[in-house]
């Protein structure tokens, strides 16, 4: 009934997923806001009822509101955090369990952190930083280390003399490339990257994106990629998941979703993407609710231009919408509305 789209899912849908999240929840224990000296803690629900599966060779963009839980979700996929509820599986087994068994998981699933500079030891040279995973996972014999470091530097577009420098002497973009080179060093089959290209100039970004796309298409690397740039999501990722306040509110083939978003928040995101010489659009009304004090009913209802009475009492769940799409909204937009 909904959309007739040219985009198809490339990920074979019948193979078992690499990652599967089932009703995943993540609650952080935090002090109540403004109460500095209390021992009391309240639960901050950073992820709530997240269902997601990532198939081998898939490329998935995670986009959404700042603070909606994207990094939390990614850290869970990388096995850095355990869910507080629900199940997070890697080839059908709990991710944390697999990760605890040995270095195999960490070699196979490489992560690029949001805070690239913070993730690199400032006392190590760039060369040593990239050699570390090579040695740790035994990727090349010691004699070939330097050559491989050189290759990795070239791949991410850093000059060879960068090997001798320290992270503090590099610009933000250069540090980002080091982080990507380090992640690629272990020859992973899955790359999870948290804003790996944000804050880069567009030509550097283009080089990294074409590299990632090549790895994705030629070597079948599975990609889970957080970005705020919808153009980047559309270029690199077949699938998109849009998050708002701890929930996935819409998911499906990237271009289909972006061309005709069904969730009002997805539509707002689409509308706010910068366009040459157009006036900057009016922002959504209202403020993002605190995750400590979630609105009743739909969590977007306090800002949603389409909200109706039932939105303030009923909490919509992610439901299918045809053509590989799903949306969590009681009154989804029809394609002609956007």
């Amino acid at each position: 009934m909904m959309l007739d789209t040219a985009t198809t899912r490339t990920a074979p849908s019948r193979t078992a997923p690499i990652f599967e999240l089932i009703e995943v929840e993540k609650v952080f224990q935090v002090r109540p806001p403004g109460r500095r000296f209390t021992r009391e803690k309240v639960g901050l629900r950073a992820l709530d009822g997240v269902r997601l599966s990532v198939e081998k060779g898939a490329s998935l963009a995670l986009v959404g509101e700042s603070g909606s839980g994207k990094s939390t979700l990614l850290r869970m996929v990388a096995g850095l955090d355990a869910p507080s509820g629900g199940r997070a599986l890697y080839h059908g087994r709990p991710i944390r369990e697999v990760r605890a068994e040995g270095p195999g998981f960490a070699r196979d699933v490489a992560m690029v952190y949001q805070d690239a500079r913070g993730s690199l030891d400032p006392r190590m040279t760039v060369g040593a930083l990239i050699a570390e995973p090579l040695r740790h996972f035994g990727i090349v014999p010691k004699a070939q280390e330097e050559t491989r470091v050189g290759e990795l530097l070239e791949r991410v577009g850093l000059p060879a003399d960068a090997a001798k420098r320290y992270p503090s002497g590099l610009s933000g973009g250069q540090v980002r490339r080091v982080a990507i080179a380090r992640a690629l060093a272990s020859e992973p089959s899955v790359l999870v990257a948290d804003e790996a290209v944000s804050g880069l100039d567009v030509s550097t970004q283009a080089q990294l994106l074409t590299l990632l796309r090549k790895l994705q298409q030629e070597m079948g690397i599975t990609l889970v990629f957080i970005t705020h740039d919808l153009g980047v999501a559309s270029y690199l990722c077949e699938q998109i998941a849009i998050m708002y306040l701890g929930r996935i509110v819409e998911t499906g083939p990237t271009d289909a979703v972006l061309n005709a978003p069904a969730h009002p928040y997805a539509a707002a995101l689409r509308g706010a993407a910068p366009r040459f010489f157009e006036p900057i659009p009016e922002p959504l009304p209202g403020e993002i609710p605190s995750p400590l004090d979630l609105p009743k009913g739909c969590r977007f209802s306090t800002r949603c231009p389409m909200a109706q009475d039932d939105c303030r009492t009923r909490d919509p769940q992610l439901g299918t919408l045809g053509a590989g799409r799903a949306v969590a909204c009681l009154h989804p937009l029809a394609p002609s509305d956007t």
Binding site: V30, P33, G34, R36, G64, E65, S66, G67, Q114, G157, L158, P159, D161, L170, S171, G172, G173, Q174, R176, E195, S198, G199, L200, D201, V202, S203, T204, Q205, A206, Q207, L209, T210, L211, H228, D229, L230, G231, V232, S234, Y235, D255, L258, N259, A268, L269, R270, A272, A273, P274, R275, F276, F277, E278, P279, I280, P281, P283, L284, E287, I288
Partner: protein
């Protein structure tokens, strides 16, 4: 001649700003000027020196040798002001929003305390006056429930909220000149739109000028009157946004534009090569190692900034530096 004309009415005019770190020339004779009420975008390769320009103007650049001048109307040369005068100026006329808000806020103090301290120190307000001004500022930057939020610690706020706190702190003293270094790179596009609108609205209301460091050319076109394109520490093209983006002359500007990813685009061709390291920088045009239009002379002789079209008045200060322009 022409540059001087513009300089006469400028709020800020930077000329021949050169920064060395050891043997590396990080900025090479960068000149730019900014009229009162104008917004300007610095764009260009990562590592080109955009943040270096902003931090040099604030005298926050450590371990570097600085030459050139940067005249702020009524204050003199920012680069040679004494520390004490600079500290005073930073409280009163000049402020900066840093590339990384999370790191710029002190995690040990509530955001209210950080804002109130700024207000008391710079405007000499009493505690209670500073407090009510802080509430006012928080409300202006769109933080609801401002009074309660004053007692939040930075980590208790989302990235977008932290960035708004930074905007509030930066605007606390009604600056004439705001430097915003990628104020929204880490934020989703709805909050980005909100924050850029907010900065523009608040600076316009006050007749203040603004220098943004941006990577998103579409966002630059939406928010800035003028664009300065940097490559490897040099200005390669500058002028009114429409001129630079629609009638660019420099091959590097074209390269940047060809990499813009609009939604649905799949045919991206990444440019070859990287910026040469500082010890291998060509003596002439620094883009020569990667330029598809390079001529023999390019690597030897540095092209000067030249007016793009002296005959057209709306292109008056559109400048580019290239021997073989488009």
């Amino acid at each position: 001649m022409m540059l001087q004309q513009i300089n006469a009415e400028a709020l800020l005019s930077v000329s021949d700003l050169t920064v060395h770190r050891g043997p590396a020339k990080i900025l090479d004779r960068v000149s730019l000027s900014l009229a009162k009420g104008e917004t300007l975008a610095l764009v260009g390769e990562s590592g080109a020196g955009k943040s270096t320009i902003a931090t040099a103007l604030m005298q926050l650049l450590d371990g570097a040798e600085i030459e050139g001048t940067a005249d702020l109307q009524g204050a003199g040369d920012l680069l040679s002001l004494r520390k004490r005068e600079m500290v005073k100026l930073r409280g009163q006329r000049l402020s900066m929003i840093f590339q990384d808000a999370g790191a710029a806020l002190n995690p040990a103090y509530t955001v209210g305390r950080q804002l109130i301290t700024t207000l008391r120190r710079n405007l000499g307000l009493s505690r209670s006056a500073a407090r009510s001004r802080a509430i006012e500022l928080f409300t202006q930057v769109g933080i609801n429930d401002a009074e309660a939020r004053l007692s939040a610690f930075p980590h208790q706020l989302s990235g977008g909220m932290q960035q708004r706190v930074m905007v509030a702190i930066a605007l606390a003293c009604n600056p004439d000149l705001l430097l915003a270094d990628e104020p929204t790179s880490a934020l989703d596009v709805t909050i980005q739109a909100q924050i850029i609108r907010l900065i523009l609205q608040l600076t316009r209301e006050r007749g203040a000028s603004c220098i943004f460091v941006l990577h998103d050319l579409a966002l630059a076109s939406q928010s800035c009157d003028r664009i300065v394109v940097l490559y490897a520490g040099q200005v390669v093209e500058s002028g009114p946004s429409e001129e630079v983006l629609k009638r660019h002359r420099h091959p590097y500007t074209r390269q940047l534009e060809s990499c813009v990813l609009e939604i649905g685009r799949k045919d991206l061709q990444a440019p070859e090569g990287t910026v040469p390291s500082h010890d291998q920088m060509p003596a002439g045009c620094r883009f020569a190692t990667r330029c598809p239009r390079a001529l023999d002379r390019c690597a030897r002789e540095a092209p000067p900034l030249t007016p793009a079209d002296p005959a057209r008045s709306d292109a008056r200060d559109h400048l580019f530096a290239c021997w073989n322009p488009e």
